[in-house]
Structure formats: structure tokens, C-alpha cells
């Protein structure tokens, strides 16, 4: 393996940070959701990196299950966004504050 493992880990850390910035700064609920997907994928990259460098398939199986959970999460989350849009006619998370105390 000619590439040091640190490069992959730093790339994954950078993508996770970009995902956090996206979640905290964007106001469109769908884009916030896509940032969460980006964070999930950076975690996947770390899992596959260690799995590959250790020569063990367990990390790749874990990534497979993470993909299944991400698909389920996207389906339910987008259904919730559609339901909210039907009631309030917006996906801006600053205006969706009915649960605010």
C-alpha cells in the first residue's frame, strides 16, 4: 500500500467538518439532510480505510449496513419534509418552529 493511511483519515476528517458546517449554516432542510449524508459518507471512508489496511472485511460489512440505514433515513426524512411542506408551504428551518418552547 504506497499511500500512507493518514491521507485517507485527513480527507475523511475534512469531509466530516464540511458536513458539520453545512448542517449548521444552511437553512434549507433538504440541503441540511444532504450534509448529513456527506457526514455519513466520511465515516464510511474511515471504516473502509481501516478495513482495507487491516485486511479485515468487517469494516466493509459495517459500511453496507450504514448504507441500508442511510437509505431508510433518507426515505423517512424526506417524507417528513414533504409533510411539513404540505402544512407550512416552506422548507426553511428557521420558519419551522412549532416545537419551539
Amino acid at each position: 500500500m504506497p499511500i500512507p493511511i493518514e491521507y485517507y483519515l485527513i480527507l475523511s476528517a475534512f469531509m466530516f467538518s464540511v458536513g458539520i458546517v453545512g448542517v449548521l449554516t444552511r437553512r434549507n432542510a433538504i440541503v441540511v439532510f444532504m450534509s448529513v449524508e456527506l457526514m455519513l459518507n466520511s465515516a464510511n471512508l474511515t471504516l473502509i480505510t481501516f478495513s482495507s489496511y487491516l485486511g479485515d472485511a468487517t469494516g466493509q460489512l459495517f459500511v453496507f449496513f450504514v448504507m441500508a440505514v442511510a437509505a431508510a433515513e433518507a426515505a423517512v426524512g424526506l417524507a417528513i419534509i414533504i409533510a411539513i411542506f404540505r402544512n407550512k408551504l416552506t422548507v426553511n428551518i428557521d420558519e419551522i418552529n412549532i416545537l419551539k418552547w
Partner: protein, 171 residues
């Protein structure tokens, strides 16, 4: 420079640029397309890590199915464009970016401090063997059969939940 390093640099730079463009682009459709590009580059990175099966699954499941679903919802709801990244509440956004950059610096410092490449022995043959469909299939249907079934039930429950939530009457 070997081919592997060149490929890593290309895919990694595409990943970095597309993820930054994704969170700064004001148009949600462009964000979704940049995320597709990011996922495709990630699939390439998985190939450089000898994870063939996951690379193909990444393209089919993430870049194909999930992102098509996202684009469907974006075009269905047609949300208004946001302002440019630093136009709305610039102070708050700069604060957030600085805090996250500090956390990133910490992580990078820890990665270089602990030097995982010294302790982890890398055998190319074992690594290639771990990523094949044969190995993953054998592990999945013997050792991890219960989580596999659970993932099936989870997807079924999510499908029913999505149908119930997105139904016409919401009460």
C-alpha cells in the same frame, strides 16, 4: 509517482472541491449534483482501497438511488434559492467555520501524533482479499446473518413509515 498516488490525488481533490461547493452553492439542485459528484469520487477512492464491492454499491445505492430520490423531492417542492453563502448572517457563519476549523485542526494533530501507519501492518494480498464479493458474501451470510435480516426489516419499516407520512391526509 505511482499510478495509485496519482489516482488518490485526483479523486481526493474532486471530493474536497465538490463537498465545499455543495455547502456553498445557493441553488439546492446544484448542491445535489455536486453531492453526486462527491459520491462518485468516493467510489473511486474505495477502488484505490481495494474495496470493489462497496465501490459498486456506493455508485448504485448512493449516487443512483438516494440522490435521485433527493432530486425528486427538490424538484417537487421547488424551494426558493438561499442567498450567497456569506451574505446572510455573515458573522455567525464565520464563527461556525472558525470553530469547525479548530476541531478539524485538533483531529489532524491527533492523527499525526498517533501515527497509525507505524502500528498498522499492511499486506496487499490480505487487503485485496478482504474487499472481494466472495469474502463479503461469506461473512454476511454466516457471521452477520442476523444484522442482515434486521436491515431488511428496517428497510420495510422505513418504506411503510414513508408511505404513511407522505400520505395526503396528515392527522
Amino acid at each position: 509517482m505511482t499510478l495509485e498516488i496519482v489516482l488518490f490525488i485526483i479523486f481526493a481533490s474532486v471530493c474536497v472541491v465538490s463537498s465545499v461547493l455543495m455547502i456553498t452553492c445557493p441553488n439546492p439542485i446544484m448542491s445535489a449534483l455536486f453531492l453526486v459528484l462527491n459520491f462518485a469520487a468516493l467510489a473511486g477512492l474505495y477502488l484505490t482501497l481495494n474495496a470493489q464491492f462497496i465501490a459498486v454499491a456506493q455508485v448504485i445505492v448512493y449516487a443512483g438511488a438516494i440522490m435521485v430520490f433527493f432530486l425528486f423531492v427538490i424538484m417537487l417542492l421547488n424551494p426558493e434559492k438561499e442567498k450567497k453563502f456569506f451574505e446572510q448572517k455573515p458573522k455567525l457563519k464565520i464563527f461556525i467555520v472558525v470553530i469547525v476549523a479548530l476541531v478539524l485542526l485538533q483531529i489532524v494533530y491527533i492523527i499525526f501524533l498517533s501515527k497509525p501507519s507505524n502500528t498498522i501492518s499492511t499486506e496487499l494480498a490480505k487487503s485485496i482479499d478482504a474487499g472481494t464479493v466472495e469474502t463479503i458474501g461469506r461473512e454476511m451470510f454466516t457471521k452477520y446473518i442476523l444484522p442482515f435480516e434486521a436491515a431488511g426489516y428496517l428497510l420495510l419499516a422505513a418504506t411503510i413509515g414513508a408511505l404513511v407520512l407522505a400520505k395526503k391526509k396528515f392527522e
